[in-house]
C-alpha cells in the first residue's frame, strides 16, 4: 500500500501560484498553521483562500500572497476580530467574497458531490447575493405533481455554486501512513468536505501512526477521514499552534494576545515576524517552547 508521508517542504512544493486553496478548521481552532507558516516563506503568490477564517487568513492576506478570500468571517474566537485581516481589508488591498457560513458548507458539499450548485434559502435578500453578480438563484422545478410544496409556489432559492478547490489542507489529531486520519476533538468542522472538494488533498497531523492503528488514538467513529480523501500526509507536532487542537492542546491564548498586540505596531510586528514567521518550523517550535519556559 502507498505510503503517503512526506515533508512540509515537499507538500508546499506541490502548491502553485494562482491556486484556490481551502484551509480546514474554524476561526482560531485546529488550523494547519505549520503549513500556513511554510506558505508564508514560499514563493507562492496570487492565491485564493477559502476558509472558515482565523489567523490563517490574517497571516496569508497580510503576506501579499493572496489575491482573493472567500469566507463568512475571520476571527480569533477569544478575540473577536483578526487584526491583520482588518488592516488588509481597511487598506482595500484584497478581494473578498463573503459567504454565509451555511452556504459555505453547501458550496464545499456541492464540489465534493460534483454537482454545480445546491439550493438554499440562506443568502436570499442579503448582500451575500446582491453584491456578487456571479451568484445566481434557481426556481424549484417541483411546481406540481407529488413533490410540489404549495407553500413554496413561485419561490426561488439561492443556488450556492460548488466551491471547487485546487488544493485543501487540514490538520488532524492523528493520521496513518496510508492517509486515514482522525479528529479526536469535539468538532470535525468541515474538513472532510474541504478534502472532498479539492484536487490535491493534504493532511497534516499531530502524529502519524501505522496503518490500522488509528483506533488506538481514539474511537474509530472519529476517524472520518479515509484514504480516498487524501494524497499527502505530513507529521507536524504542535502544528496547529497557536490555534487550539483539542484534546491535544488548547489555544495558546498568551501567544495569540502577543500576536494581536504586535499587529498593532509596525516595529513590534517586525520583531514578531523575525522571531516567529521568517523561520522554519523547527525554529518556530523552539521559540514557542522557550516562551513557555519563560512563562512558567
Amino acid at each position: 500500500m502507498a505510503d503517503k508521508r512526506t515533508t512540509l517542504a515537499e507538500a508546499v512544493s506541490r502548491l502553485e501560484s494562482g491556486m484556490t486553496i481551502g484551509i480546514g478548521g474554524w476561526g482560531s481552532r485546529r488550523k494547519p498553521m505549520a503549513i500556513v507558516r511554510a506558505i508564508l516563506n514560499s514563493d507562492l503568490t496570487d492565491l485564493t483562500i477559502v476558509s472558515y477564517g482565523g489567523p490563517d487568513v490574517g497571516l496569508l492576506a497580510n503576506s501579499g500572497k493572496v489575491r482573493k478570500v472567500i469566507a463568512g468571517f475571520v476571527t480569533l474566537d477569544s478575540i473577536a476580530l483578526e487584526p491583520l485581516w482588518r488592516q488588509v481589508r481597511q487598506r482595500g488591498a484584497i478581494e473578498l467574497q463573503e459567504v454565509d457560513e451555511g452556504l459555505f458548507y453547501l458550496g464545499l458539499q456541492a464540489a465534493a458531490w460534483r454537482v454545480p450548485f445546491l439550493p438554499a434559502r440562506a443568502g436570499l435578500g442579503s448582500d451575500v447575493l446582491a453584491r456578487y453578480p456571479e451568484m445566481k438563484t434557481v426556481a424549484s422545478p417541483y411546481v406540481d405533481g407529488p413533490f410540489a410544496d404549495p407553500a413554496d409556489a413561485g419561490a426561488t432559492f439561492l443556488a450556492m455554486p460548488a466551491l471547487r478547490l485546487d488544493a485543501a489542507i487540514v490538520h488532524a489529531n492523528a493520521a496513518d501512513t496510508a492517509g486515514n486520519a482522525t479528529f479526536t476533538g469535539p468538532d470535525p468542522y468541515f474538513d472532510e468536505l474541504f478534502l472532498g472538494a479539492a484536487d490535491l488533498r493534504i493532511v497534516t497531523a499531530e502524529r502519524v501512526v501505522e496503518n490500522g492503528t488509528l483506533d488506538t488514538v481514539g474511537p474509530l467513529a472519529k476517524a472520518t477521514i479515509h484514504r480516498l480523501l487524501t494524497d499527502l500526509v505530513v507529521e507536524t507536532p504542535n502544528g496547529a499552534h497557536f490555534t487550539s487542537c483539542a484534546p491535544d492542546y488548547d489555544r495558546d491564548e498568551a501567544f495569540q494576545k502577543a500576536y494581536v498586540a504586535a499587529a498593532s505596531d509596525p516595529e513590534a510586528w517586525a520583531a514578531f515576524a523575525a522571531r516567529y514567521l521568517a523561520v522554519d518550523e523547527a525554529t518556530y517550535q523552539a521559540a514557542v517552547l522557550e516562551d513557555l519556559e519563560n512563562r512558567a
Binding site: G72, L103, L124, V128, F190
Partner: protein
C-alpha cells in the same frame, strides 16, 4: 432587595424573546442575551436547548462563569449539525447588530464601502441564513444614530423589505420578533413592517429614544419596560455572579 440596573432590565426584556418557545435551540450572542436565555430556561421556557458555544448541548442553565470542564453535556452538535437545526427552523437566535435599519436589516460585516471598509468587523457569519430560516431577534447594547441607521452598509441579517423583494423563498420562514437595546424594546409592528417602539426602559424618555435613532421610529402606545421580579433578580445574580452584564450595558 438590591438596586436594579439597566442591564437587569435588558435581561428580563430579552428573556421574553423565548417565552413560549418550547423545545427549540436558543442561540444568544452577548452577555445580556446569554443570561436572558438561561433566565428564560430557568423560568418560563424549561425545554429550551442551550449549547456550550462550541459543539455540545448542555444540561440545565448554569451560571455563565461555569468552566467548560464543569458543564454537563447531553448531546453533540458539531457545526455541520447546527446548520440542520438552522434550516429546520427549530432555533431562535439573538444576534448583535453593529448597524440595524427600520426594516430590521442588520450589519455585522463591515462599516463603509465593501471594497475598502472603514472598519472591518467579523463578517456576515450565519446571519443571512439565520434570518430567513428561523426567528431572529437582535440585541444592541449601544443604541445611537450610529447603530440604528437609515441604511446599513452591508445587509447580513435580512430585514422585512429585503425579504419581501426576494420573494416567498425568503419570506416563508422570515420572522424578526424583537429588538432589545440599552434604551428600550422594539418590534416590527409599524406600518409596512417597520420598527416600532414597544417599551422604553425606566428612566428613558421617548425623546431620548427618538434622538438616538437614525430613522423614523413608529411610536404607538408606549409603555415602560417592566422591572425584573425579585425571583428573576435572584436568578440573574446566580447566572452572572461577577456582574459581566453591567459592563456590557451603559445606562
Amino acid at each position: 432587595m438590591r438596586d436594579i440596573t439597566r442591564a437587569d432590565i435588558c435581561i428580563a426584556a430579552a428573556a421574553e424573546a423565548w417565552r413560549g418557545a418550547g423545545e427549540i435551540m436558543a442561540s444568544p450572542f452577548g452577555t445580556v442575551p446569554m443570561v436572558a436565555s438561561r433566565l428564560a430556561k430557568r423560568t418560563f421556557s424549561p425545554d429550551l436547548v442551550l449549547t456550550d458555544g462550541e459543539a455540545a448541548i448542555i444540561v440545565g442553565a448554569p451560571p455563565i462563569t461555569t468552566r467548560p470542564s464543569d458543564l454537563v453535556r447531553e448531546a453533540a452538535v458539531p457545526y455541520k449539525t447546527i446548520f440542520s437545526v438552522v434550516w429546520s427552523g427549530r432555533r431562535h437566535i439573538m444576534m448583535q447588530a453593529s448597524q440595524i435599519d427600520r426594516f430590521g436589516n442588520q450589519n455585522l460585516s463591515a462599516i463603509g464601502p465593501a471594497n475598502q471598509p472603514k472598519v472591518q468587523l467579523i463578517g456576515v457569519r450565519g446571519a443571512p441564513g439565520n434570518s430567513v430560516n428561523h426567528k431572529t431577534s437582535y440585541w444592541v447594547p449601544d443604541h445611537s444614530t450610529k447603530t440604528f441607521v437609515a441604511a446599513v452598509d452591508t445587509v447580513c441579517g435580512v430585514g422585512y423589505d429585503r425579504a419581501e423583494a426576494a420573494g416567498p423563498g425568503a419570506t416563508r420562514f422570515h420572522d424578526l420578533p424583537l429588538v432589545v437595546s440599552n434604551l428600550g424594546v422594539f418590534d416590527f409592528s409599524g406600518p409596512g413592517h417597520t420598527m416600532a417602539l414597544r417599551s422604553m426602559h425606566p428612566g428613558v424618555t421617548v425623546d431620548e429614544v427618538i434622538a438616538a435613532t437614525g430613522f423614523d421610529l413608529h411610536i404607538g402606545d408606549v409603555v415602560e419596560t417592566p422591572l425584573p421580579t425579585d425571583e428573576q433578580l435572584a436568578i440573574i445574580d446566580e447566572l452572572d455572579p461577577k456582574g459581566a452584564r453591567d459592563r456590557e450595558v451603559k445606562a
